[in-house]
Amino acid sequence: MKRKLVTGLMMLGICLISGVAFAADAPGGAGIVSMTVLAAGLAIGLGAIGSGIGMGTAIGGACEGTSRNPEAGGRILTTMIIGLAMIESLTIYALVVALLLLFANPYRALMG
């Protein structure tokens, strides 16, 4: 476990350092275009993690509840669907930020 943690941290460090190296190559440094694309990717990527875990827990609870009491299956299903839509909406906010950055970038005047 400790080895995996150290390996992960080293990979992260290499990525960050190499980012600076790329900036030295491109004229003008890590410009707004590259930062925008990076931000869009990170926004939706990181935003989907929590939603995935939360939805998995919710569906697990719904399956368990239905197995304990099959007659309440319909009500449990309805509650689960609503709960899933609520959780999903948080990732949708992140998706909207990513779409905003890619298609309606407020800094497009600076993008050269």
């Binding site: 609503i82 839509a85 909406s89 298609f103």
Partner: protein
């Protein structure tokens, strides 16, 4: 890239000439060709719903046939949903909820057909629907409770008011944000996924995503009206 994709639309016959002939006027107000297409597609939804209802309205029979059968199923399902969530005193709000549900459902499903666009893939349409829901909850609360409606925002204990009042106001305003963004993000995200998949592999591969689109359309309609009903019920009942 995908924002500049302009798929051919049935409504381009009207919006094309309308946009290009008055281009200075539209540009002054920031209206794009896509916005015109969006509005025209909501008109198509209106025409579909109104015509389908008028065909049945004057010829109601005791033993339903055909279109009346379909409408009876739809209306009775919606009625069950409304009465189940809102209770018996929620019946006066059934026309509002059913109209919202039918409009959103037809808008969402229309995008699956070729040459038509789901109007809810634009933030303007979903914001309008969310504002309707928000306004109705507060009008219902004021109508039901009068000035005591403020007690809904004040929390359980008097000395908590400076804390509870901003939190409740922000929470209520965030309902507009969440309702509009949820519907917009789901439908627009689905549309974008299908557009990008179609750009990559136009044959057969977008088909599972289109099944998902049907499913998502129904679910998002259900979630929107469930939330609207719960907000209306919350403002009708006594303050905590």
């Amino acid at each position: 890239m995908a924002a500049s994709i302009h798929p051919p639309m049935l409504t381009d016959f009207i919006s094309g000439p309308a946009f290009h002939s008055m281009e200075a006027f539209w540009n002054k107000w920031g209206v794009t060709h896509e916005d015109l297409n969006n509005i025209l597609n909501t008109w198509i939804v209106m025409v579909i719903l109104i015509v389908a209802s008028i065909l049945v309205k004057n010829r109601l029979q005791l033993i339903p046939r055909g279109l009346q059968n379909f409408w009876e199923v739809v209306v009775s399902t919606l009625e069950d949903v409304v009465v189940q969530i809102m209770g018996e005193h929620g019946r006066p709000y059934f026309p509002l909820i059913a109209s919202l549900a039918l409009f959103i459902l037809t808008c969402n499903l229309l995008g699956i057909l070729p040459w038509l666009q789901s109007s809810t893939n634009n933030l303007n349409t979903t914001l309008a629907l969310a504002l309707i829901a928000f306004t109705v909850t507060h009008v219902v609360g004021i109508k039901e409770h009068g000035t005591h409606y403020v007690k809904h925002f004040l929390g359980p204990v008097p000395w908590l008011i400076p804390l509870m009042l901003p939190i409740e106001i922000i929470g209520h305003l965030s309902r507009i944000l969440s309702l509009s963004f949820r519907l917009f993000g789901n439908i627009m995200g689905e549309d974008l996924a299908i557009i990008i998949l179609t750009l990559l592999v136009p044959y057969l591969v977008p088909l599972p995503m289109m099944f998902l689109q049907v499913f998502t359309s129904f679910i998002q309609t259900l979630v929107f009206i469930m939330l609207t009903m719960m907000y209306i019920t919350g403002s009708m009942e006594e303050a905590h």
